[in-house]
Assembly symmetry: C2
Homo-oligomer: 243 residues x 2
DNA sequence: GCCATGCATATTGTATCCAACCAAGGCCGC
DNA sequence: GCGGCCTTGGTTGGATACAATATGCATGGC
């Protein structure tokens, strides 16, 4: 029932489901959907100019990715993590990624390092222009470039997913507390340690880098929640009480 | 705001899609579908007595779970892992689970241990009756009971997924090489170390337990592939999506 | 006046139908 | 005889239509 008028987001021809999934995921990752508010399939479908079926399949994919949760017959909502869970996310990342880095370092070639440098340059240039949109992607590119020589595809997949979750929350914190500069500095320092073939130090720096970011994020979230307790603009928050 | 504690499950409202997903996953996990053979949607739909829509959504869920892979217009196949990837799976498990166990031990109460004992008894009884069907579930119950006191839900989710993948391959190996007895013995030994509050030893035993199972499985797979002239290279092509 | 019950509405879940696409096999040209 | 093109069958992808279910409100009883 879409009117022949121009739809909001023109989608190039690929499989509609995957495009829809990417579109919704992208919006979730940049906070386009308010947390806790149900994702109306009809609304999303009309907005993207597709039917409800691709939207449903995309939502199911995202459910399995952990970004949304389905309540039977009641709709899907953007899944939110508690500060404790976010902290756990970063701790798990620190654990796995430090191990990955140690495994990767013996196989690292100058080409790998050059590529990491390139990514960091792009990263920095992007931030200098104030583009926070591609931050998560570039951050992952850098980290994965560091771990790729380990040759551990399965672990990489797991870490990639963890990164996606982290980025969703890190985005808002970074923009407000200027953590980007710190991230760049820490990235450069890690690269220096790697160049010196100091695996222990590189892993320690990486661990500190990740844990520090996590703690900063959790502190930010707690402060935000404590300070502005209810920023809800007259959102009728009806909590059906199960008897 | 999500309630802090574990939410009580009122009634597991099963929708056809979720039932279909469980059915297909169950079949995949017990090797009901030959690896590499495409999963025909109509066939599965007719077999389960449902329409194709729930089958499609179930397959998409399983895709995101990593159990099947979609080729754009050519259907879905049961995703297979190379021996190297399987070995990596177990190594990753060993890493994460040992860490979980160390974190859990300080919070472990006699009740936790008793529950683990109960699970092991059930496990043993089940194996004595020759039931390998519920092996994966019981194995996960035991391991998760050990890690639950750590209070790390996110990590538990990750490990749960890794377990599912491992079980799929472990099932066949266990049935043929009588690894069950060894698993039980090792489980008991781990419990003994935990009871003695020897975290280091418990973690070491757990790590050996997991890595040993993985190595046995990989050896089994290699022997099988070498013995049988199955030229099927099982090219484990992962979908690489440029982002 | 308050609580329970029934109805209305909106949203999700499922089925059926049509189009797009890939793969294979036959046909024609060289 | 062989290779390329086209047709054809079959499968998946997507849209529309219908059924099931939960939520919210109104109404009636206590």
């Amino acid at each position: 029932m879409a009117p022949p008028g121009p739809v909001d987001l023109p989608i190039e021809r690929q499989t509609v489901t995957s495009l829809t999934r990417d579109a919704i995921r992208d919006r979730i990752l940049r906070g386009g959907y308010p947390a806790g508010q149900p994702l109306r399939q009809d609304a999303i479908a009309e907005q993207l100019g597709v039917s409800r079926i691709p939207v449903r399949e995309a939502l199911r994919l995202l459910e399995a990715e952990g970004l949304v949760t389905f309540n039977p017959h009641r709709g899907a909502v953007v899944s939110t993590l508690s500060p404790a869970e976010i902290e756990e996310l970063f701790e798990l990342r620190a654990e796995i990624e430090a191990d990955l880095l140690v495994r990767a370092m013996p196989h690292m070639t100058p080409a790998h390092l050059a590529r990491a440098d390139d990514i960091l340059d792009t990263y920095e240039a992007s931030l200098a222009r104030g583009q926070v949109a591609g931050w998560g992607s570039l951050n992952w590119k850098f980290h994965s470039a560091l771990y790729a020589p380990a040759g551990r595809p399965v672990t990489m997949g797991v870490v990639h997913r963890l990164h996606q979750h982290c980025d969703r929350y890190a985005r808002m914190q970074l923009a407000l507390t200027h953590g980007e500069q710190r991230a760049i500095t820490e990235h450069r320092n890690i690269l220096v340690a790697i160049r010196r073939r100091n695996a222990t130090r590189a892993a320690a720096l990486l661990r500190r880098h990740i844990l520090g970011a996590g703690q900063a994020l959790v502190a930010f979230l707690n402060a935000q929640q404590g300070g502005a307790a209810h920023a809800a603009p007259a959102s009728t928050r009806r909590r059906s009480r199960p008897s």
